[in-house]
């Protein structure tokens, strides 16, 4: 019986520190990577400004949240930020559509090479970053309110009588649910609606799609709108789960790119898969397994070290190593995206 409890304790430990954080971080990455992969599939360039689009959308959501809070409006146990999301979404749609009209459209009409788009996106990144820092400042902002947890570690312990507690933050639960709903809606849109089909056709073969009467301007516009929605929601969820800091969002760029490429760039399912692959690898490699093995191994074999493969500061290295491995072994990504 005791052996069984030990195993259950070890499983709960892993659930608490690996599975739940991995799932929520993976969902955030997946939503971000979907935006990158859509822009890549339709507009055919790697968008360096994506991290800052997320930061911008989140910032607008935060400002709206603060305004709502000052008016005393809230959602009870749910974070007020959910109510403020539409403001952030609209603002980032405006941002992306304006940058497309003023920056990218010129290069698209002139059939510029992808590298030019990429450098232009660096300029957009600078500008967006400047705006975000100007408006909200470079520091940490917290905007989480309402209930903090779905299950608290202490309640879980008293409920089950186990040694290890399982805690699920409300933000983590929300992240997973919203990500599932959003992805389902996106796929319904891409598979079933006329515009979605046009987008897929355009991504697959531009000339053929144009011949068939697909309106390129509309496809591009819809792509930016979807990207803005995904980016704002991903950014807000990440901010609720951790905290909002403009610099962190810039750093998210690398794992998101890695997720998109690992899954197969230009392929939406690949982006989601890649998001979870990257997130779980980061969490698994940087978790210290000492306690798990204390439960699982007999006392005589108790491990001495932390049994941590890599220090948490190397999580960027993890996404990068996976990226390089995939590029070397299977350049199209796990799900056969485009070859750049």
């Amino acid at each position: 019986m005791e052996a069984l409890t030990d195993v259950v304790n070890a499983i709960v430990l892993l659930l608490n520190f690996v599975v739940v954080p991995g799932l929520s971080y993976g969902s955030q990455l997946a939503l971000g990577a979907l935006g990158i992969t859509l822009v890549f599939g339709i507009l055919r360039f790697a968008n360096f400004a994506h991290g800052d689009t997320m930061a911008f959308g989140t910032m607008m959501t935060i400002l709206a949240t603060w305004w709502l809070q000052s008016k005393g409006i809230n959602l009870g146990p749910l974070p007020t930020a959910l109510l403020a999301l539409p403001v952030g979404i609209v603002a980032s749609i405006v941002l992306l559509v304006v940058t497309d009209k003023t920056v990218y459209r010129y290069y698209r009409h002139n059939k510029a090479i992808p590298v030019t788009f990429m450098i232009a996106s660096m300029g957009v990144m600078f500008m967006t970053n400047g705006i975000v820092r100007f408006v909200i400042g470079p520091n940490d902002q917290r905007f989480l309110d309402g209930e903090r947890f779905i299950i608290r570690a202490r309640d879980f312990k008293t409920m089950t009588g186990l040694n290890e507690g399982l805690s699920i933050k409300l933000s983590q639960g929300l992240t997973i649910i919203i990500a599932v709903v959003l992805v389902a809606m996106l796929f319904w849109f891409l598979q079933k609606t006329r515009t979605g089909k046009a987008m897929r056709a355009y991504s697959d073969n531009e000339d053929l799609a144009l011949l068939s009467g697909v309106d390129p301007d509309k496809v591009v516009l819809v792509t930016w709108i979807i990207t803005a929605i995904l980016a704002t929601i991903a950014g807000t969820l990440y901010g609720l789960d951790k905290s909002f800091k403009p610099f962190t969002y810039l750093q998210l760029l690398l794992p998101m790119f890695a997720a998109a490429i690992v899954g197969g760039i230009g392929n939406p399912i690949g982006a989601i898969l890649g998001g979870y692959v990257i997130a779980f690898s980061e969490v698994i490699v940087t978790y210290a397994y000492r306690k798990v093995f204390i439960y699982l191994l007999p006392q005589s074999l108790e491990p001495e070290g932390l049994l941590q493969l890599l220090s948490t500061d190397y999580k960027f290295a993890v996404s990068f190593v996976i990226l390089v491995l995939v590029l070397l072994v299977r350049p199209t990504g796990i799900l056969r995206g485009k070859v750049l």
């Binding site: 232009a120 660096m122 750049l340």
Partner: protein, 457 residues
Amino acid sequence: MTNTRRTQLAFALIAALLLMIGFVQSWNVSLGILNLCLISAVMALGVNMQWGYAGLLNVGVMGFAALGGMSAVLVSKAPVAAAWDASWGRLFIAAVFFAATVGVAVLCYRKLAPGRQRSLALTLVIITGLALTRMFLDPAISDIESIEPAKTGFLGGMGLPIIISWAFGGVVAAGIAWCIGKVALGLRADYLAIATLGISEIIIAILKNEDWLTRGVKNVTGLARPVPYEIDLQNTVWFIDLMRWWHSGSLSTMNQPEQQQALKQFVIDGSSIFVKLCYSGLFAGVLIIILLLSIKALNSPWGRMMRAIRDNEIAAGAMGKDVTRRHLEIFILGSAVIGIAGAMLTTLDGQFTPTSYQPLRYTFLIWVMVIVGGSGNNMGSVLGGFLIWLVWIEAEPIGVWLMEAGTSWMDESNALRLHLIENAQHMRLFFMGLVLLLVLRFSPGGILPEVVSKQNH
């Protein structure tokens, strides 16, 4: 307007701006900006080699600059004898194991036929090798880090003059660039950009965490200088005499006690300007050497080959040029130049702080310099380095001043006004992005576009 004329005009403008800052603000500020301009120009030259000559998109400038900074520490700091005594045996064994792992892995990769067996063998070799290495490295590291962690806690350096680190930084950056290039250069431009972005983040993460190497986030301060210290100058006879001679005009009008006071102030001010001038001289020397070599290289058959490869890889390959090899070559060269600049920067700062390396400042700003200055044109990169650094530095006071002027009608304690003034400095990011986009759109060649010489036959 011909390109030479444009170059002269542009540099005259920069000189005038620096002189103006000297007269309006102070010579100290002006020379401080000039020194960083010189370093930025060297960095921009490095990026220009990769992007301008060969079309390689290196978004990992920050990593190579940080490697240069690390070299400054490793060269100039005195070795920590206690740490070496405590750990050299295990360090040696760990190094042997690591080298053996790499050797066997490479051998496996070369000798075995591609397939599942090879992947399996490679994985096995790497995992056992790294485990063995860590078995000896980990205790060695904890020994090193436990020796006076507040003061040293690392291996120290070689105790050589810091100026040697400039060359050493170039070599280290070149070595790492070789490893990266071997893996990443087969990829297309977009992937190379993302790959280099990742590598630079990893380099910074290593420098932040490997305390035994660089003290990590505890920073290394008090690096030796290649130039005299202000305090020594202030007590040196020839320097005081020099100041007396320099200011003899204004000194002669004063009486004796006033003269003493004034001279003392002149010596204090003069010493810090003198130190900055020494740095400027050194940096300018490096810049001129690298610039001359770059111009020579770009106009040589080798430079023409590079541009041919950039403009049409397939055609150049068909002409028998080894495209991958040439790319590797230029990637290493450019990275070495960035490494040199990184070492110079750390020398100027006198300290190594891994947390100060941020991609916007060390990667993307350098890119703005190259694009705005004129990619493919060496003088253009130098100009971009000067101009963008000037704007980057001066945008802050100007932004604050504009905000203050623009909001002067508001109340002194108005929250919005205070916020605007406090955050005005961040507008320079916005401004940089705007400059980059405007140049890219309306003058894609930059201020000094690439010179394409037509040869007459």
